[in-house]
Subunit: 152 residues, 2 copies
DNA sequence: CCTGAAAATCGTGAGAT
DNA sequence: ATCTCACGATTTTCAGG
């Protein structure tokens, strides 16, 4: 899908605040509300906008702890790799899963209510899972920025 | 703010899809639309819902590369620390900033269009910045999960 | 592609329980 | 606290340029 300057401007606005009305957006970008409506629908249809979500403050729902985990695999055979990845992705406490190359294989970003919960999860995700050579835990002291905003 | 089971259910739904209408939400949780409206407004007011955003697919807007960076500081004196942190947070290509303790001090998650852009940013953020002892770059081969969903 | 208006849907507040 | 109802605003569709 081709995105022109109007589309990019809409994306820039919407990825910061998707509750702006189409009327407000139309004034910001100098289009009619119906043009804005059609463009947004097209971007949703094309998958440019993958979803629209409410962001919840984890501290205010009793899940104050963010943890970063570097995971090293034992064996990178594809079926084993996929099994581990699925286990990570399917875990509700795991917010983000990155596969990288280098000193470790996966980087996980997790959210838990306390360290006890984290310890239980390490058992499920790492110890009982097989194929994990090791993992390194970093507790986030601060989460100074947390967005998926694309610089466009 | 106290959150009851209705609120938590609303959050669970909204952090996956905030475009659900209040009518749809009211049917899912068995409340009237106006009760849903009031609860959502209260959660927004209390900061439980910090924002509502559109999530953009970075690959479809020509920014396909996600990079993880571990940053080690030279000096952790508070004013120097804050200066570095501000530099990270203010950079549009930096999506997430975590301060941790351990082998390194900051973990950054960045989004760029190519490695050239990343190299330029390393210069701005790390070399020219002073107070950076070193950094380690990991290019994400896969981003298998990318949410901020809180498990509630 | 756009605009502008009509139609349908939605969000919101008032009043009652 | 909740619900129902009604009003105003918004979204969405459609005709015409």
């Amino acid at each position: 899908m081709h995105l022109d300057a109007y589309d990019l401007k809409l994306l820039r606005l919407l990825q910061v605040d998707s509750k702006l009305t189409q009327r407000q957006l139309s004034e910001s970008v100098n289009l009619s509300p119906s043009a804005v409506n059609r463009r947004i629908a097209a971007m949703e249809g094309a998958g440019v906008i993958t979803s629209t979500v409410a962001v919840v403050d984890p501290a205010l729902v009793n899940r104050p702890i963010t943890i970063l985990v570097e995971v090293k695999l034992e064996n990178e055979r594809l079926d084993l790799f996929d099994a581990v990845k699925k286990r990570f992705v399917d875990c509700p406490q795991v917010q983000q899963v990155y596969y990288v190359t280098g000193d470790f294989d996966f980087m996980l970003i997790m959210n838990v209510k306390d360290m006890t919960e984290y310890e239980q999860l390490t058992r499920e995700l790492f110890f009982d899972s097989g194929n994990i050579k090791g993992f390194k835990t970093y507790v986030a002291m601060q989460r100074s920025k947390a967005t998926f905003n694309v610089p466009i």
